[in-house]
Structure formats: structure tokens, C-alpha cells
């Protein structure tokens, strides 16, 4: 059952990764605005305007 320690170690590393990701996310301001991105994602990336020849 000593293998348990390896498994626990793995799970900690994984969970710690998530914690770091969370802190990174908060720091980079991703949770500052929790509404606009939900709208933004639905916009089509319209192609760049073609120069109209008159």
C-alpha cells in the first residue's frame, strides 16, 4: 500500500496546478467582468471590410 503515497503526491500536484491556475486567472482579471465575455463569444468574426470601389 506504499503506492498510496505516490498517488496522493500525484493528486496533490494536480490539485496544486488547479490552484495556481485559479490564482493566475484571478490575477489576470478574467473574473473582473463575468458578463461581457458571454455575449462576445456569440459574435461572428465578420471579415475585414472590403474596400468599396465607387
Amino acid at each position: 500500500m506504499k503506492i498510496m503515497f505516490v498517488l496522493i503526491g500525484c493528486s496533490f500536484i494536480l490539485a496544486f496546478g488547479f490552484l495556481v491556475a485559479f490564482i493566475w486567472m484571478v490575477k489576470s482579471g478574467q473574473i473582473d467582468d463575468d458578463y461581457t465575455p458571454s455575449v462576445r463569444i456569440l459574435f461572428d468574426d465578420g471579415t475585414l471590410p472590403e474596400k468599396k470601389e465607387l
Binding site: 496522493i8 496533490f12 484571478v26 461581457t36 462576445r40 459574435f43
Partner: protein, 800 residues
């Protein structure tokens, strides 16, 4: 493209949704109400941005007003440096507040602004804060051009003095989120490691797994305790130093005891410790705190006069117009105020026709005409053409801004009442200590080995987690539900304040009345110019507010001599004018039978030579449902009215307000503030409902200030609540909802006590085990959270 002018039809504008009148413009089979709207449509079509119209219907804003030279001040480098956050040789970055951001289309258009003008590098909209961060190429577009571009498509940024003076604050929520992250991480892992023990390890593995698991748990509970839980420890320490027992004290007591016992049990190999309870407790508490911390970012509750004034004004020097920032104005400067602009400082009228609307500042309904050479106080809005003024005082020293020098603005709101939670925690802490001590005494007699166990178990299991959660969740939920009904609270604790109030003071102009349009007209036979002159000369001679209003409405020049002028108080006037007998007054005075006498307006009847001519109808323009609101509230609150206006509508208001209400008129801002203080001095807990700058002092002084606003994005004085005027009729329901929310808190408090009793029965008997604690703590918390959330939601549904 071809433009066709079409005759009158009831179509709505494709851009802004307004009804199109005879100036309707048709283009690509779409109707537009004005050239402004059409131009935006053409611009967007040319730039392939027509999705703007498909995401939301009629997303635009009517553009009937032209921009003109309004933004000339943005060419001033001094002002530019205050607005721009970052600038180098190529690009600049800044943040605009754009009040018109209101739908998904707005986000779409603004973020695609680079397609319209290549000078724009990138735009990022924050919808909830109604602001946009813009990066632009300074070599291709100037700040002024950028702002004019935004204004031309209907997204005019708003600038005012306070935006420029203030330092932008960092997001205060971040630390709490880090704490939650750490607590969540530790809580999860402690659970993971604790589970095997709870389910039972076999004897082969137990001897080496148990101690290792214990050490891991202990290691994980250190950051939880010291970092995530620090606010409770610090809060309790600060409270005790001020001899205050807040909810933090029993919480911190529980946490410290838990932590010490964990260290002892694990290091001495005498038990498993309560690490999971400790981490879970802190995690749940922080979630509750986070839930309560919602704020309405797009609203500002702390505004003072600075955000009311514009940031710049045009000065005239040697016949040359220059734009100057308001704080750079000097005494003696000559300034130009255009129509609809705000007078920035006390000054003397030099040129032009001044017709100043002071309704927002003093509460007076009617614009005031000022003569050349008269002083005009800051804050008024010019309503008829351009005028030129000479600056007499600096803005900070002007008559209006003096109000902010009152002490009330210097101190923080310590007049607020003690919360239910604080009141309860005092008794709770003493009861807890009493139970823990009596358990210890009991075991000292019967089984000395159990003293420590029983004593600490009581403090651990009775740690008022559920109690500490009930308030944040109930208040946080209530705040969100009220927010959905456009009743925005500064913070969740305002709910509890509102529930404790017993007096409501209303402002009149703009609060219980609506503030627009003309309000007097004549109904009846057509009056000849001569008859009008007769009535004018009669009413001009009376000082009664109603007569004054009619005289002002007719506005003539007359020098007819009156004979036998007789004014009968409360009834009317009789006078002989140039051989005519003129009667002006109430229906009973004139002996006229009226079929209906509406309470929504006051009628003044006219008889000339005993012939009935008709009546002047003065509309009160009171808010919808005012009567209902007042009669509802009068059962539970004592009501008062403070008006900056004259007594014109006193008689009508007396019919609405209950007889014991105080109705005071001609109150200046300081009078209002002092009146609130007097009420509070008599042990009343006061809600002030107001709207304008003239209420600012009273709103601040009151226990709860509710500022009513037609447009929540525009200026409102600092207050605890910002309420959308549309929902004024629901005010009693909202106040009642706050009271009901407190009842929810009482019930959930009882619930959490019940769980505590169960836990205590284990604790005092000395049989508490980590498993029981680990089960009981989350269950009680979840019950309380569930109960408060569901009941506040159901109550909110009843509200409408």
C-alpha cells in the same frame, strides 16, 4: 443611395426605435426618424457592421442633437493627460465611461470600432461597469476625434470633474478570491485524505498511513487557518480591543480551538483531529462573505458635487473663446454658458437672457429669470440660449458646494444601527462559554480525563458557522432580488437598516413629482387677448402661488388699473378691471357645478362679467401610484415631506398625506439636513427619499438615504440606495421585503441553533468524534443556505 421623403406614417425608426414623424427618411426599405440615425446606419452598412441591428432590435440612441464644438476641450493637453492612462510615441490607452451601453449590440459595435476608423486599435467593453477600454493610434486619430466618433454613433463618453480627480481603485474582491481558492484547495484535499480513516483502514496499513495522513492534514490546515481565516481572527481581535463582541469572536474562538486541538491530537497521535471541519468552516464562511459582497459597478453611491459639474467651460478673453478646466477658473474670468449647460460656479450675468432651472439644486419647480448684473448660483441649468457670466467665486467655494463642508460629509456613517448578528453574537458567546465551562465542571467531578475533550468539543461544534452564514446569504439574496427590481443597494447590510426604520422623509420636486414638461394649460372657451390681459392683471396682484403661476403662464405686459380687488383666502379673487367683473378661484367660490374634480390636478375657474369662461388646469404630475404608496406607508411609518418649492401644492398634498404628517416648504439644503438631525435626535430612525443635489445633505444624514433617479446612469447624490423612478409605486413592497428578509434571518438563526443543540449534546457528553463534526457542520450550513435562498426567492416573487 437615394433618399425618399415620405408623408406622415406611424413607423418606428430602424436605428433607435423612436416614432418617425413627418421627417421620416427611407433608405434600403428601412425607416429612420432623423438624419443622425440614418447616418449611423449608412456608416455601419458601409463597414459591414449590420449585425448591430440583428443582435438586438433598434439598439441605437436617437441622435437628433448635433455635437458641435462640445468636445473642443479635449484638445487641451492638460485635460488629455488626466484622461489617458498610458501613452507612448505610437499608441494611447484610456478608459471611457459610456452610459449608453445597454445591450449586446452595443458591445458588438464598440468592439468593432476599428472597422470604422483605422486609428482605433482595439476596444474592450465591460458591460456591467458600462465602460470601454480603448487603445488608439495617436498618429491617426486625436482624442477629440475619437470621442466625436463615439458620440456620432450614439456612444458619447461621460466626463466629469470627479472622474478626473479620482484615482482608479483596484478590484478589492481579489484577496477574498485568493482566500477562497486556498481554502477550497485545502478543504478538498483534507477531505480526500480524511475519508479513508472515516471508512476504516485495515490494521496492516493503519500504523503508517494514519500518522502520515494526519501530518498532511495538519500541513494543509495551516494555510487555511493563517491565510484564509485571517480576516476572522483579525476581526475578532479588533472587536475585542474595542470591547465589542461581533460574530467574529465566537467564530475565531472556534477556529483557534479547532486548530490547537488538531495540532495536539495529530502530533501526540491521540486522534485524527478536526482538520476537515476547520477547512470546511472557513471555506463556507468565505463563500458567504463573497456572496454578500456583490456591488453594482455601473452605479456610484459615493458621488459628490464634483461628478455633477462638467469638466470644462468656455472662457472669453479678448473676444477669443478658449476651453478651460473648471478647477483652473479664476475670479473675474468671463465664461460662456450655452443652452442646457450647467453653471459651474457662482457668477454675475453679463449678457443674454438667463432662465435658470434650479430644480435639481433647490427643488424649485419653475425656471428662474435672472436680470443682468444679478448673481447666479452654481448648479443651475441655463434653459434659453447663450449667456455670458463673470466668475465671482471658485467652484469649491460656491454657495452650492458649501453644503459639502458640513460635518456630516466628513464623518463616516457611524449613525448606523447595531446589526442583529452583532446583538446575537454577544449573548451567543457568553452562553457558549457558560455551557463549555459547566461541561468542564461536570466532568471534573465525574471523569477528569474528559474535561479537555468536552470543553473544546463544545467550542468546536457550537462554532456559529450556520449563524454566520444566514445573514450574508439572506441579505445577499435580498440585495440581488431588489436589484432585479431596479432598487439598487450600496451593500447588503442596507437591507437590515431599512428593516429597522420607522420614519420616512420625502422630498417633493423630482421625488414624488415627475420633473418634465409644462404643467399648466387653459381649458374652456377661447380667450381673447383682452380677456387674457384682464386675468393677468388680476392674478399678478395676488401673492398666492396659484395666481403667480397663472400670471407667469400668461406672461403679458399690462397696466390696467384694478378696482375693488378682493382676495378671499382659500377661495379666490374678485376684482373689477376696466369695467369688467373678474372672478378667479375655486368652483364653489364661482358657484359652478363641476361634474368631476380630479385629484391629479388643480383647477382654477374664471368668470368674467358672470359668464363662465373656462378653467386653468394645473397638473401636479405626481408619480404613478403616489396615493397608494403614501397610504400604504402611513400605517407603518411616520411620514414627512420637505420641499424646496413654494406652498403651491400644499392643499393637494394634505389630502394625500395623513393628517399627522409634517409638510414643510421652502426648505433649503441645510434646513433639510437639520430636520433629519432633529428627527434622529428624537430617537427616530429615518429613511430619506430624495433626488437632487439639494437633498444630498439629508440623504447622507439619514440612516438610510434612497435616491430616486429617472436614469440610473446619470448623476445621483451619494446615498445607500439608488432606485429607478419607474418603480416608485413598489416602494412599500420593497421596504416590506427588507422586513421579511429579517424574519427569514430569525428563522434560520433558530434552525442553526437547533443543529447546535444536537451537536452540543454530543459535545457535553464527551462523545464528539471528528466524523460527527465533519457531517454536522456542512449539513447545518447547507440547510441554512438553502432555507434562506429559497425563502428570500419566494418572498421576492410575492413582491410584484
Amino acid at each position: 443611395m437615394i433618399e425618399i421623403k415620405k408623408p406622415k406614417a406611424k413607423t418606428s425608426c430602424y436605428h433607435c426605435g423612436d416614432f418617425c414623424d413627418e421627417n421620416e427618411i427611407l433608405i434600403a426599405e428601412k425607416s429612420f426618424c432623423c438624419n443622425g440615425c440614418k447616418n449611423v446606419f449608412v456608416l455601419l452598412t458601409d463597414n459591414n457592421l449590420t449585425s448591430y441591428y440583428s443582435i438586438e432590435k433598434t439598439p441605437g440612441k436617437s441622435l437628433k442633437q448635433s455635437i458641435g464644438n462640445k468636445f473642443a476641450y479635449l484638445d487641451d493637453p492638460n485635460i488629455q493627460t488626466k484622461i489617458i492612462d498610458y501613452i507612448d510615441a505610437k499608441i494611447a490607452r484610456l478608459q471611457f465611461k459610456i452610459p449608453n451601453i445597454h445591450c449586446s449590440s452595443c458591445i458588438y459595435l464598440l468592439e468593432n470600432l476599428y472597422k470604422i476608423n483605422e486609428g482605433v486599435v482595439a476596444v474592450r467593453v465591460n458591460f456591467l461597469k458600462k465602460n470601454a477600454t480603448i487603445v488608439y493610434d495617436i498618429n491617426k486619430i486625436s482624442l477629440r476625434q475619437l470621442v466625436e466618433l463615439l458620440a456620432s454613433i450614439g456612444y458619447e463618453p461621460s466626463f466629469n470633474m470627479s472622474d478626473i480627480d479620482s484615482v482608479k481603485p483596484l478590484n478589492p474582491n481579489r484577496k477574498l478570491l485568493f482566500q477562497i481558492g486556498v481554502a477550497g484547495f485545502c478543504f478538498g484535499n483534507i477531505m480526500l485524505v480524511s475519508f479513508p480513516e472515516y471508512f476504516g483502514l485495515d490494521n496492516n496499513t493503519k500504523h503508517y498511513l494514519s500518522p502520515a495522513f494526519g501530518l498532511i492534514n495538519l500541513a494543509l490546515s495551516i494555510p487555511t487557518f493563517l491565510y484564509s481565516g485571517q480576516d476572522y481572527l483579525i476581526g475578532a481581535f479588533k472587536g475585542l480591543r474595542k470591547k465589542l463582541i461581533t460574530i467574529d469572536v465566537p467564530l475565531a474562538l472556534g477556529l483557534v480551538v479547532l486548530f490547537i486541538r488538531n495540532i495536539y491530537e495529530i502530533l501526540s497521535h491521540t486522534g485524527l483531529g478536526y482538520c476537515d471541519t476547520l477547512a470546511g468552516l472557513i471555506f463556507f464562511l468565505l463563500i458567504g462573505k463573497w456572496f454578500q459582497q456583490k456591488t453594482y459597478d455601473s452605479l456610484s453611491f459615493e458621488r459628490d458635487y464634483k461628478s455633477y459639474f462638467p469638466i470644462s467651460v468656455v472662457t472669453i478673453h479678448h473676444n477669443k473663446n478658449t476651453t478651460v478646466a473648471i478647477d483652473k477658473l479664476k475670479i473675474g474670468d468671463r465664461i460662456l454658458i450655452r443652452n442646457n449647460e450647467i453653471i459651474p460656479t457662482d457668477s454675475i450675468l453679463l449678457k443674454g437672457k438667463a432662465n435658470i432651472d434650479f430644480s435639481f439644486v433647490s427643488g424649485e419647480n419653475e425656471p428662474i429669470v435672472k436680470e443682468l448684473g444679478e448673481i447666479i448660483f452654481a448648479g443651475g441649468k441655463q434653459t434659453s440660449g447663450n449667456i455670458e457670466l463673470e466668475v465671482k467665486k471658485l467652484t469649491e467655494q460656491s454657495y452650492l458646494t458649501q453644503l459639502w463642508n458640513n460635518d456630516i460629509f466628513a464623518k463616516e456613517n457611524n449613525s448606523k444601527v447595531e446589526t442583529f448578528q452583532t446583538k446575537v453574537s454577544k449573548y451567543f458567546t457568553f452562553a457558549l462559554l457558560a455551557i463549555a465551562l459547566s461541561a468542564a465542571v461536570f466532568w471534573a467531578v465525574y471523569d477528569i480525563s474528559k474535561i479537555i475533550h468536552a470543553f473544546t468539543s463544545v467550542l468546536i461544534i457550537a462554532c456559529p458557522c450556520a449563524l454566520a452564514l444566514s445573514s450574508p446569504f439572506a441579505l445577499g439574496n435580498a440585495m440581488r432580488n431588489l436589484g432585479r427590481n431596479k432598487f439598487y443597494l450600496k451593500s447588503a447590510s442596507v437591507v437590515e437598516n431599512i428593516a429597522n426604520m420607522n420614519t420616512i422623509v420625502f422630498d417633493k420636486t423630482g421625488t414624488i413629482t415627475q420633473s418634465n414638461d409644462s404643467k399648466i394649460n387653459f381649458v374652456g372657451n377661447h380667450l381673447s387677448e383682452f380677456e387674457k390681459e384682464l386675468i393677468f392683471s388680476v392674478t399678478q396682484n395676488s401673492i398666492h402661488p396659484l395666481s403667480k403661476l397663472i400670471a407667469q403662464f400668461l406672461d403679458m405686459n399690462s397696466d390696467i388699473i384694478l378696482n375693488n380687488f378682493k382676495e378671499i383666502t382659500g377661495k379666490g379673487i374678485e376684482a373689477n378691471v376696466a369695467g369688467y367683473n373678474v372672478l378667479v378661484g375655486s368652483a364653489s367660490f364661482l358657484n359652478i357645478k363641476v361634474e368631476e374634480n380630479s385629484l391629479l390636478n388643480t383647477r382654477i375657474y374664471i368668470k368674467i362679467n358672470q359668464e363662465y369662461k373656462g378653467c386653468f388646469v394645473i397638473n401636479h404630475k405626481y408619480r404613478k401610484g403616489l396615493k397608494q404608496v403614501i397610504s400604504n406607508l402611513s400605517n407603518k411609518y411616520s411620514l414627512h415631506l420637505l420641499s424646496g418649492d413654494n406652498e403651491l401644492e400644499k392643499t393637494y398634498l394634505q389630502t394625500i398625506f395623513p393628517s399627522q404628517s409634517e409638510l414643510l416648504f421652502k426648505q433649503n439644503p441645510t434646513d433639510k439636513l437639520l430636520y433629519i438631525n432633529t428627527l434622529q435626535g428624537n430617537k427616530n430612525k429615518v429613511i430619506m427619499v430624495g433626488d437632487g443635489l439639494n437633498d444630498a445633505g439629508a440623504l447622507k444624514a439619514a440612516n438610510v438615504g434612497i435616491s430616486l433617479s429617472e436614469n440610473t446612469a446619470s448623476f445621483s447624490p451619494s446615498s445607500d440606495v439608488i432606485m429607478d423612478a419607474i418603480n416608485f409605486e413598489y416602494l412599500p413592497a420593497y421596504l416590506q421585503y427588507c422586513k421579511n428578509t429579517m424574519k427569514v434571518i430569525y428563522v434560520s438563526f433558530a434552525l442553526s441553533l437547533l443543529y447546535n443543540l444536537i451537536g452540543l449534546s454530543y459535545a457535553v457528553s464527551g462523545t464528539l468524534s471528528p466524523v460527527i463534526a465533519a457531517i454536522l457542520m456542512p449539513i447545518s450550513s447547507v440547510t441554512v443556505i438553502g432555507f434562506t435562498s429559497i425563502s428570500t426567492y419566494l418572498l421576492a416573487r410575492k413582491m410584484k
